[in-house]
Symmetry: C2
Subunit: 115 residues, 2 copies
DNA sequence: CTCAATACCTAATCGAGCTAGGTATAAAGC
DNA sequence: GCTTTATACCTAGCTCGATTAGGTATTGAG
């Protein structure tokens, strides 16, 4: 799929997944992948920098934990993160219906008659 | 609005507008603007380079015309452009339902992949 | 002992939207 | 006449973020 489309929604998706409970980068990418039936794939080069941006914006906070011999950086939403997720979801709805509005009354593509 | 969201859909929107009939850059931006109730605004710095990309990909073709003392570069879809628009619309539908799937109930999304 | 999966990270590249300029004509206001 | 606004096109440079393609380290399976 066109990564350009996804790029506007990556942070919303990540916040959404984190909102379901404390989780970590690798699991987030697996979750997004499986919940979209493999349609979305968050590459590591997008995922980790995005997590760092979210943390810098104080929308998430992190803590290292050792589980089953693996060090993981767990993330959870801050209260600002909860609000931001809500705002992003609303923005997404507005955006999606805006697109439908432009696509909407248009039928399928047709050939343009000559001038 | 977040231009990042829009960035994946710019070319689809432009192709869609052009599919309604021969038109030109300035009018395309006005149309997108008005059809989305001002929600989307295609800046000139995005619009014109995008038109040139579409033309280079042979999805549109252009011709200069003088109308009411104004020179305009009119665009229309090629047959490849018609197909591309159709594909982009399907991809958009798949993408949007994929997002809904992740946002929605947390169950797997039913995504119809674009051909 | 090697390979795959798990789990994190980042430097370099690249694509595309935005800013902020430019040119030019027509119409409306003063 | 002169200026401003709208129309109509263009592009160089900036910036942001996704991808590519590497790196480190541990665990478990073959």
């Amino acid at each position: 799929m066109d990564s350009r489309l996804l790029s506007g929604a990556v942070e919303m998706l990540m916040l959404e997944v984190i909102s379901h409970g404390r989780t970590y980068g690798y699991e987030i990418s697996q979750t997004v992948d499986s919940r979209s039936n493999g349609y979305f794939s968050l590459k590591e080069g997008s995922l980790y920098p995005a997590l760092h941006r979210l943390e810098q914006q104080k929308l998430v906070k992190s803590s290292w934990h050792e589980v089953e011999g693996r060090r993981r950086k767990y993330y959870e939403l801050t209260s600002a993160g909860i609000k931001a997720l809500d705002a992003k979801k609303q923005e997404w709805q507005a955006f999606a219906s805006g697109i439908q509005g432009v696509l909407g009354d248009g039928q399928s593509a047709t050939v343009v008659p000559a001038v």
